[in-house]
Subunit: 211 residues, 4 copies
């Protein structure tokens, strides 16, 4: 089952086993419970490591949180930036929503964390410099809608900011609901993100395109 090569790989990758375990546990707990309701003891217990390891690898609870958030947000932003912009507006919107679904499929916690982060006015007062990262995807969407207005594809009386927030707000809220419903408590809104995003596309396009 395990040949020599696998072993080597596992040795290599085991270099940061502890760090990774802390990181993963931290993301999940921060995402589900928030910063203050998550304790270092929770994190290390889930990760199966000892408390000082958090300080060895990350320095403090705050720095651990920032590491988690920054790393996730960077990855998210990068994924959105990979969308080819030389496509039609309708296709871009579809791609934007698909990327959101992919991210959620790959790491549901990252979406939760982002939503929580965006909506917590003072819970993370010292982490403002991450705000720009968190809002980057929305900003990208705003720009694309603005361009589409310039090109006459989107109606001139449509506000790109509102539109972007509708797309982003609805798709993230849909995922947030899906996560809660699946993992925590039955709240009755359990559609698949894919279904939501298909509907969002249709409604948005119907509502903002010319003609």
């Amino acid at each position: 089952m395990t040949n020599a090569r696998d072993k080597m790989v596992s040795i290599d990758s085991s270099r940061d086993d502890v760090r990774d375990a802390i990181f993963q546990s931290a993301i999940e707990l921060f995402a589900r419970r928030g910063y203050y309701a998550t304790t270092i003891r929770d994190i290390v217990e889930k990760a199966g490591v000892t408390q000082p390891m958090v300080y060895y690898y990350f320095g403090s609870k705050e720095k651990l949180f920032i590491s988690c958030v920054r790393e996730l947000f960077k990855k998210i932003v990068k994924t959105y930036e990979n969308i080819d912009t030389n496509i039609s507006f309708a296709n871009y919107l579809k791609a934007f929503l698909d990327v959101g679904n992919d991210i959620y499929a790959d790491s549901p916690e990252s979406v939760l964390l982002m939503v929580n982060y965006i909506h917590s006015p003072e819970e993370y007062p010292k982490f403002k410099n991450i705000k720009n990262l968190a809002w980057k995807p929305v900003q990208m969407l705003i720009d694309v809608i603005g361009d589409a207005k310039d090109d006459g594809i989107v109606r001139k009386d449509i506000d790109q900011i509102t539109t972007a927030i509708m797309v982003f707000g609805a798709s993230t809220m849909g995922k947030s609901l899906h996560y809660i419903n699946k993992n925590i408590a039955d709240i009755g809104f359990d559609e698949e993100p894919k279904y939501f995003s298909g509907q969002i596309q249709k409604i948005i396009l119907g509502g903002i395109l010319n003609n």
Copy 2:
């Protein structure tokens, strides 16, 4: 010096004073910082009362939180329920959004609290029974859109849940951003809620109505 009537008045009003002060401080702090980042000390300091008063009037931090949330949510639900349902769908949507703006104008923290509450999967694990209240307005919107579909006003291929979430998600996110931008940190999305809701109406109606 102090006659019986004065005493009664002062006792009556002072009782409410203390309870109200705690209540108001708690709402604001819970809304801005979340449940776990808010301490009893923070609350009583802001309210200008002593710690045991919280336990005298509310029993515990948890019960205080539930009181705050329940009271606010009930008020919010009641306000939405006051909307006359014997009006056109377009007018109902407008009224729904207007009510949201009124609530925000009257008590911005209640909106913040609701948004946070909805998006926090495990931060408030023991307070699940409030979930129904929190989702009531969305549910009402879903029902109205459903009726409008039955009446042939809204297209049959439109999902009422997605639509409701788009309306609700965008309008609450807009307010949340407005609050943060005005009171806490400049994040660059500072349109007035009214502007947002006007745009939302237009886009939604354009996207879902028949013809």
Copy 3:
């Protein structure tokens, strides 16, 4: 044995029993072990109170230390200031040494604490503003010797600073040794402070007076 009046007194004075117990334990432990080797747990155990009481009454370990030091030093300075300055230099020197002995008899730890404090260059880096208090007695002695030089009582070639340090250094070191020998470990220098101060007087007066 205990009449009503005693009870009342004890009730009155019991108001700050806990604070006093912490204060006394802290002084003794800080004096004997130094700041860093003394833990809050040590202090409260000795005082028979719980940990949060330290924070209730003093705010932090650092503030507790500063409170102890400042209060003791103020008392010490005040005692030295009570010496009548309208007496002969020889009598002043005697009085100065006697006051030192009285303080030591009353509160040996205060002398220990002062000596340790004076000699610890960086152990208490944030407590510099207490330094002035700690050096006040020496400064007073310097001034008196200076005056005695002006009056022709002390020889002009004698440096008042050196003289004061000899008096102060020897008498405090003598007490420090006495304390250690009596309470901690036999180190073989166990003369009574009174004996030391008599000798110091004699030697100093023989060494600095005119003729």
Copy 4:
């Protein structure tokens, strides 16, 4: 590239380098901050080595401290023992004070460490066996003054212990003040040790000699 001789040399010198670096850093930090306020991390950071090296070369923090103190104290004692005892009492006193100044000039920290050590009743509870070394110079001075009494040079009513403590206490306190004033904080007593010791000699001799 590297031949055997080079290896040996580099091994030899590097071994001493690491040990010495730890030793020097430890002395300075222990002297300035005391035992408990100094951490192994502080020491290795200052020395530019890794933590386990302390354990490899010294076994433990406690043993490192004892090594430092013992080595310094032995050197100090040896220096005092080098004073020729076949000289006049006055010259011996001068030589004694000069040696103190030389030691301070060569290694100010050793003086600080000794003073702190002597005055710390319980900070170093397990290191009592070093006490004898620390007090050796004073003991030597006591003996010499005793001899001078026997020889009729010093007055019979003079106590040699008090005298020794005055000499030792004043000269070490003078150096301690000088160090603090020069390296840490302005406390206003900044005379050079040489000046102090000249004055001490004069006052002591004037105060204790016959005639």
